[in-house]
Amino acid sequence: MDTFLQVTAYGLLQGGLLALVAVGFSLVWGIMNIVNLSHGAFVILGAYIAWEIQGWLGLDPFLGMFISAAVLFCVGYIFQRFLINLIVNGPVFITLLLTFGINMILIQGMNLFFTADFRSIQTSYGSNSFEVGNIRIPLVRLLAFLLAIVITFALVAFVKHTRTGISIMATGMDRGAARLMGIRARHVYALTFGISAALAGMAGTMIATIETFDPSKAGKFTLMAFVVAVLGGLGNMYGALVGGLLMGLVQGWAGQYLSGTWVNAIAFLVLIIVLVFRPNGLVGKAFYAARVEI
């Protein structure tokens, strides 16, 4: 029973991290109908920026995270405004190819700039943990988990209660109508992508404090974001959080009770089943189902 609880706790904590990785990806997909294959590269880039900030300024990653997010916001905004906006109305494989091209440039760029060595962000409290009953909880993972929850709720609050947020939602639901209100769709799209990149940067910083990273891991995070976003469903603002926690639990349990890496195979099986039978995700109904684009 203790093992089960321990595995469950670990799964949930890991799930928070997954949610953090996926939340921006899900936002971009939901609002703009763009599957951003460079999302994982943004995560890794965020990790590098936080790592550099710690190296130069000695700033704690939990503070460096915000600088990382700010930098990535600008990068994301520029990419969307000047590149992706040029093909948003194209067929699927055009948007996929473009974001894959961006992915290639980012990854190779990071390889050249930071080399392909493994890195991680060391902190004085990095290996701290505490116990609840018989369950051991690593501090950094808990912080990352809490951050994921805070960010999700902050994002929901932003989207629901600010003018800018509502304009993002509206553009996601009906771009043509939003433009008729005078909302500048190009700017809103760029803003959305910037936010997504910023969230990826925060996720990257968290990951850097927990595990090692290098540019080749980008693909893994993109895939994770996929699975989590689909599981949670694009229709729900809390989708990434729910999907992430679910995924974390499944990974935790399967990792404990199944041999080898069957857990990954199962994750993809679940992904396909959800796509075929519940294309709107496991939770909630479609929010952007009636998408109209002009």
Binding site: W29, I87, G260, A265
Partner: protein, 338 residues
Amino acid sequence: MSTLKALKSVNGFKRTLLEGLLVLVVVAGAIFFKSTLPGGELRAVSTIFMFIALSQAWNIIGGFTGYASFGQVVFFGMGGYFTAAVMLHLHFSFWLALPLSGLFGAVFAVIIGQPLLKLKGHYFAIATLGVAEGMREVVINLPDITGGGAGISVPIAGTFAKTQYLGDGGFYLLFLALALFALAVGTVVSRNKFGYGLRAIHQNEDAAAAVGINTVRSKVMAYSLSAFITGMVGASYVFQQVTIFPERLFDVEITVLMIMMVVIGGSGTVVGPLLGALGLQFISEYLREHFTNMHTFILGGIIILAVILIPQGLVNYIREGRRTKNYSLLANIRRYRL
């Protein structure tokens, strides 16, 4: 260009004859080059042939039918592992394993195609990608059959080897044959009833169904035909590489390369993917040689530029330009712009 014009001016039988001659000349040239090229270059050209075949295969489902199969590499990987497994465990000859691998891929495509081809757009792309990633994990977790993550080796010499290793020259011819086969399939499809049905489905499934096209069956057939070719190419690649690993054989980048070649060359045409495969492989090799470090960086840049400037692909761009007498790139960018 002048040959193209010549082809235009004659029709029907004469056109077929001219094309046949052109193919003969190219084949003769390719076989002639085989004896003059050094080993390294033979391998490089073999890779070009391989991608010609792969891009033609993707073009059937992605270009003609309009379904962005982002997990096409699954058929490459499964065909390859099928060949490796039957050659190693059952001592099949490669020549028997080759068509069977194609069939294996085709049957798998029929099975997954039934549910997946109901999905549209991104959902289909993501689901197929999920299948590819998932199958890689399955292969890793069946070490008794596939060797798992440690890889698997095909017997190429000794008593268990029914087929001796083909050598650089042999694989050159094998991939040439596959490329020609794929081009032939692509050409036939582009000109027959089935291919026109696929194009109609691409444009509008409701309208296609309204003229009597069984859209479900046509899509599944296109998918499995495309998988058949991809599976055979995967089988040949495995035999050429001898030892293979799941990461390489299910590498998403192989899918992306196929798509890039088709999209940049001109999807839905036969010449487009051919040009795309030739061009992109040449550029890629050139970059690898002269800008070793910057190779992927520059390639990424080329993809971005190509997708933004000529999203409809080179061949379609030229065709449209000839029709409308308008080659403006600016007008071209406007097409998908927000």
